[in-house]
C-alpha cells in the first residue's frame, strides 16, 4: 500500500495566539512556498467566539496532506522549525 504522509505543525511554536509564538498571518512562509498549496490559514476553532470580528487566534492546518510532494521546502522555510513531515 502507498504510504501516508503525515504533516504536523507544533502549535506551541506557531500560532494559537500566544505572544511568543509566530503569528501565522504575519509569516505565511509555508503557505507561499508549497506548490500544491496544501496548507490552510484559519482562525483557531473555538477561539474568541465572543468577538469573532477581531479574532487574534489563527493557525495553519496542513489540510491536503495527500497532495504533498515531499519536497520539504516548507520544513526548510519555517522560521520556527514548527513543521514535521513523516510517512507511515
Amino acid at each position: 500500500m502507498k504510504k501516508k504522509t503525515i504533516i504536523k505543525i507544533d502549535y506551541s511554536l506557531c500560532g494559537d495566539g500566544v505572544k511568543e509564538n509566530v503569528d501565522p498571518r504575519e509569516c505565511c512562509k509555508c503557505l507561499r512556498i508549497c506548490k500544491p498549496a496544501i496548507f490552510l490559514l484559519h482562525q483557531t476553532l473555538g477561539a474568541k467566539e465572543d468577538n469573532p470580528l477581531d479574532p487574534e487566534c489563527w493557525r495553519v492546518t496542513p489540510l491536503w496532506a495527500s497532495l504533498c510532494t515531499l519536497c520539504m521546502e516548507c520544513v526548510k522555510a519555517c522560521p520556527a522549525n514548527a513543521i514535521q513531515i513523516t510517512q507511515k
Binding site: K4, L40, L45
Partner: protein
C-alpha cells in the same frame, strides 16, 4: 420554483437570471445576518466538522475506492443542494460554474445588484496568506464584506462602478485567472471570482478529487487549425492542462474532456485561432458539466 433551478444548456443560464441577484431574495432569507455569520469565520469552514466528521485527513479517505466514492457523492450533494441552508457554518448549497469573460461582463452589466465591490480573495488569503483584490461581489454581500477588514483591499479601490468592475474582471481574466460565478448560498448569487488552481477552494475538490464542487462552463474550446501555428503559448496558459502538443506530429491537441471552457487560453493566442463554442453543440461534451 422552476425558474430558480440550475438550468444548463440551450440558453438556460442560471447566472443570467436577475432574480438570483434581487433584494427580494435577500429579504426572504435574511441574508445580511446569514452571510455576516458565515464570512466572519469563513476560513474555518474547511476545518469544521461536518456531520461529526473532521475534514482534516479526509483527503486520504477520499482516495479509498468505495468509501471515497460515498464521501465524494455526499460532499457534491451538499454543495449542489437547491435549497436555502439553515446552518451558516456549513458549505451547503454553495455551487458555482466557470464563466468566460463575455458572460462575466453580461453578469456585471445586466444582473449584478449594487453596491458592487472588489474584495480580497478569501481563497488566496487562506491558502497563501496573500491579500489580492480580485473577487467582485454584489448587493448585500458587499455590505457584509465592508464589516470584515481582512477582506477590504488596502490599496485597490473597494467600491466599483459597473464599468470599473468590467475592466477589473477583464484584467484578471487576461492574466489567466479563471472566471467563476457562485450561488452563495442558493438561491442568491453574490460572488464573481477570478480564481487560480490549486489555490481556489471551490475548484480544488473538482480537479484533485473529482467532487462536483464547480460546474464546467456552458462552453468548450474550439481550435481553428489553419490559423494555429503550433507555438504552444496556450499550453502554459490553460489552468486545467487541457492543451498539449501531440508527441509525434508536434501539433496542438485539445482534450475536450479536460476543457472547462474558461476561455483564458484565447487571450494569449497570437493568431486568434482559439474560440469558444456552446457546449451543447459539441457532441463529445454536450451535457457534460
Amino acid at each position: 420554483m422552476c425558474e430558480l433551478c440550475m438550468k444548463h444548456g440551450a440558453g438556460g443560464k442560471w447566472y443570467l437570471n436577475a432574480k438570483h441577484y434581487s433584494d427580494e431574495v435577500v429579504e426572504k432569507y435574511g441574508l445580511y445576518d446569514f452571510l455576516l455569520e458565515q464570512y466572519k469565520n469563513f476560513e474555518q469552514m474547511s476545518v469544521r466538522k461536518v456531520s461529526g466528521f473532521s475534514p482534516v485527513g479526509m483527503d486520504y479517505r477520499m482516495r479509498m475506492p468505495i468509501i471515497g466514492r460515498i464521501i465524494k457523492n455526499m460532499a457534491g450533494n451538499m454543495l449542489n443542494k437547491q435549497r436555502f441552508p439553515k446552518d451558516p457554518f456549513k458549505p451547503e448549497s454553495h455551487i458555482g460554474q466557470i464563466v468566460p469573460m463575455e458572460d462575466a461582463i453580461a453578469i456585471i452589466e445586466e444582473c449584478a445588484a449594487e453596491p458592487i465591490i472588489e474584495k480580497n480573495c478569501m481563497c488566496r488569503y487562506m491558502s497563501r496568506g496573500e491579500k489580492e483584490a480580485c473577487c467582485i461581489n454584489f448587493g448585500v454581500m458587499s455590505e457584509v464584506i465592508s464589516q470584515l477588514p481582512r477582506f477590504v483591499p488596502e490599496k485597490d479601490k473597494f467600491h466599483l462602478t459597473r464599468k470599473e468592475a468590467v475592466e477589473r474582471f477583464k484584467a484578471h481574466n487576461r492574466k489567466g485567472y479563471i472566471g467563476t460565478i457562485w450561488f452563495g448560498p442558493f438561491p442568491y448569487i453574490n460572488n464573481l471570482c477570478s480564481c487560480e488552481s490549486p489555490e481556489c477552494a471551490g475548484i480544488r475538490p473538482r480537479v484533485d478529487f473529482g467532487i462536483m464542487s464547480v460546474h464546467k462552463a456552458e462552453y468548450v474550446i474550439g481550435l481553428e487549425k489553419n490559423r494555429c501555428d503550433d507555438c504552444g503559448a496556450c499550453i502554459i496558459k490553460c489552468p486545467f492542462n487541457a492543451i498539449e502538443k501531440d508527441p509525434y506530429s508536434r501539433k496542438i491537441k485539445i482534450d475536450l474532456d479536460k476543457c472547462f471552457g474558461c476561455g483564458v487560453c484565447r487571450h494569449v493566442c497570437p493568431n486568434d485561432a482559439l474560440f469558444l463554442l456552446p457546449r451543447d453543440i459539441v457532441p463529445e461534451v454536450a451535457g457534460k458539466y
